[in-house]
């Protein structure tokens, strides 16, 4: 890989092919035309009030007043036709299967991929999310990523590419489900004109996946809990939502105790054994015995109980070894290595600055590339070369030279655009897609996922913490 290619600045439009509406958007666009501008405004207002009334909000870190914002959902849904989704789904299943195998290889296997030089050992071992403490902790069925969120974008040709893997505690699925409920209320006619695949089985699919990874010794229906850091966490709404959808307890660290490597929750009827902990707490806060000893969020002894095979922690410890932004560059190689297949969904062209040649190539055209710190999430710290001034570029160049392992560079992907309601008008805005992939007895992809939209004109940053919105995502049924 070299950094010599010219950046493509054209964009792919999801809805229009030139002046013509793509056929799968036909019924929706007709309906929107029929509604007219004031009607659209009313429905957008209704949408907002639905979310406000439901109290569906998210907290923004760094907002000093600790304000919560109403979840921003755009009125205009995104539609993915059946054949296109079939391709995406196949690619996601393939990718998550390989990532599960890679993680199992690292933590309970022979580390074959490292020994065979598919990924440099030093790179994996220097990844922030790599956890030595995860060695020997079993993951039944090899499902180390029970829930994965794989961020996809479409380039100028409309090709779906993987932008990022989220294998630790990916969030956003609650918004997928709530977006759908809200959408069927505000645009029922348009919705009915398409044959949209449902998403509301997510709770039972997640529960089935979590039960399938229970320790082999667990008797009867394994007991699953959702472990949350508590009400102060920005994703608490989602934690409570998922517990409710699955009909399981939402616990905090202090509700669980470990005795003789067995995890139990404290109930009004005494201690009740727990088989699977779907944790929404990061590794370093999970168990103060093993990780940060000042963590009050975690459960002392949890990791040793998991190591003893008495409880399954999902997702497994140390998954960050595989979703590191630099390790990402090697995922197509891992797919080839473990599955003997070519990646169905390509990566975005990625350059690794610790190779001296690549570093020079990156620095020579920094103004045409995207630079990401490998340890950040949520869209923080990203430099978009074409949008940056000279001073910012110089600072980035210095940072890359000083600590090349901490950065990657990628070609600018001119994310596809989609009509979005902005001040009563439909305007093109950039979007991405985070589908959710469940690994249990089999790998299952929830149709669609969270479409995020960058609301400011021209912006490529879709994260909700950075002013992004969302869209309901309709995957159409195939022809019978």
């Amino acid at each position: 890989m070299t950094a010599a290619a010219e950046p493509a600045m054209r964009t792919f439009s999801e809805v229009f092919d030139g002046d013509v509406t793509r056929p799968h958007y036909g019924p929706l666009m007709e309906r929107l035309d029929a509604l007219g501008r004031s009607d659209l405004g009313e429905r957008a207002a209704l949408l907002d009030s639905i979310f406000r009334t439901l109290g569906i909000t998210f907290a923004v870190y760094g907002d000093e007043q600790g304000r919560e914002r109403t979840w921003p959902m755009d009125l205009i849904p995104r539609i993915i036709p059946a054949d296109e989704w079939w391709h995406v789904e196949r690619g996601l299943v393939q990718r998550v299967r390989a990532l599960n195998m890679f993680l199992d290889d690292i933590y309970v296997g022979e580390q074959a991929a490292l020994n065979d030089g598919i990924v440099p050992r030093w790179l994996v071992e220097s990844a922030d999310g790599y956890m030595r403490e995860g060695y020997g902790v079993p993951a039944p069925l090899g499902s180390r990523c029970v829930v994965a969120g794989i961020d996809l974008v479409r380039d100028a040709e409309g090709t779906y590419r993987v932008l990022e893997d989220n294998l630790r505690v990916p969030s956003g699925i609650s918004y997928v489900l709530e977006n759908r409920v809200a959408m069927t209320r505000v645009l029922p006619v348009a919705f009915a004109r398409h044959r949209v695949r449902p998403v509301n089985h997510y709770g039972s699919s997640l529960l089935a996946a979590l039960r399938s990874v229970a320790p082999p010794a667990a008797a009867g229906d394994p007991t699953v809990v959702v472990l949350t850091p508590g009400v102060a966490n920005s994703a608490y709404f989602e934690h409570a939502f998922l517990a409710r959808q699955m009909g399981v307890e939402l616990v905090e660290g202090r509700d669980l105790i470990v005795d003789d490597h067995v995890v139990s929750m404290r109930t009004t009827r005494g201690l009740e054994r727990v088989d699977v902990v779907y944790r929404r707490i990061n590794d370093e806060f999970l168990d103060p015995v093993v990780f940060r000893n000042d963590s009050l969020l975690g459960v002392p002894g949890l990791v040793s109980a998991a190591r003893a095979g008495n409880v399954t922690i999902a997702n497994a410890i140390g998954n960050g070894a595989a979703d590191d932004k630099a390790v990402y560059a090697f995922v197509p190689d891992l797919i080839r290595y473990y599955l003997g297949e070519e990646a169905v969904l390509p990566n975005v062209a990625t350059y690794l600055p610790w190779e001296p040649d690549e570093r020079e190539a990156i620095l020579s055209r920094l103004d045409q590339l995207v630079v990401k710190p490998v340890a950040e999430a949520g869209g923080y710290g990203i430099l978009i070369g074409p949008h940056a001034d000279d001073q910012t570029l110089a600072a980035a160049a210095a940072a890359i030279k000083a600590d090349p392992r901490s950065y990657i560079a990628q070609e600018v992907v001119q994310l596809s655009t989609h009509p979005t309601l902005i001040d009563g008008e439909l305007k093109p805005r950039h979007i991405d897609l985070r589908p959710f992939v469940l690994s249990g007895e089999r790998i299952e992809v929830i149709p669609g996922g969270l479409t995020r939209v960058a609301l400011p004109e021209g912006s490529l940053i879709v994260n909700s913490s950075q002013g992004g919105g969302s869209k309901d995502t309709w995957v159409l049924e195939g022809d019978d």
């Binding site: 009400v231 409570a240 517990a243 409710r244 307890e249 939402l250 616990v251 905090e252 202090r254 509700d255 105790i257 005795d259 139990s264 929750m265 404290r266 109930t267 009004t268 009827r269 005494g270 201690l271 009050l296 002392p300 002894g301």
Partner: protein
Amino acid sequence: MLSRHAEALFWLGRYVERAEDTARVLDVTYHNLLESPPSEESSAWRELLEVLFLDQAFGDRDSVAGDVTRYLVVDQSNPGSIVASVARARENAFGVRDRISTELWEAINQFHLELTSWDLATDLDQQPYSVFRAVRNRCQMIAGVASQTMPRDDGYRFILLGLMLERAEMTCRLLAVRYARLLHAGRPMGFHAWLAVLKSVSAYEAYLKAHDASFEPTRVLEFLLLSPLFPRSVLFALRVAESQLDRLAVGEERANLMRLVGRVRARAEFCDIDDVLRSGLDQFLESLQADIYDVARAVDQHFFRAGTDLELHAYQAT
């Protein structure tokens, strides 16, 4: 259900009731003093603090009306003050936001917000009755919303259990403050004093239906302690608490819990009010409170402390 949730619901009930009952005892004391000689004021307030077990925390300050009411209503440093009780009720409600109805959450949250934006100190000086009445109304609304919007599951039972144990205890204290003092003084209570007591627990009309307007001290006392029909009487509260426990308690500790709650309920139910007065109302009320405390402690051990002997974290007591 999770012990943490049950504990939060139990204390939600207790704190709401505590806020209401604190307003009620303040109301009785305040209005009774209006008709008493000024020399009695300081000792009356001091006794109120004693009955609420807050005399040491209040310290050596002069126990004049203004200071004591402010201490019991608005003082954040007093964990038993009305403002602090409501804040803690809200905290507990927030921790079980998913287990209570939206209406109940809103009622509690709204009350808390009102109190924090209200110039209570001024109103306590100028028109304390309006403060006491507002607190009472709000707490009654919260209890009403809970009963109208919560399914009758374990969660609701824990709220009701906390509320009723607190009520039984606080009604004992109210009686202690009012009667014990007057009996010691050896002075018969006047017509208006009886009226004030009954009205302060919303019992005036119910009492008239059960008896008549002669307000005999023994009958009033009997009514507030032992009426099987009036929902603020000690006996009524204990019966409701007992029936909640009957549904909640399982396992080997059940027998002990039911014995403790049954014992205190039976002591109230089968007591002879004339005997009680002869042998000393003070002691009777104190021992009832001690028994109620034993029930609350057993509830705490049985439902909220499963496995704490194994715990590596230091437990943070409520």
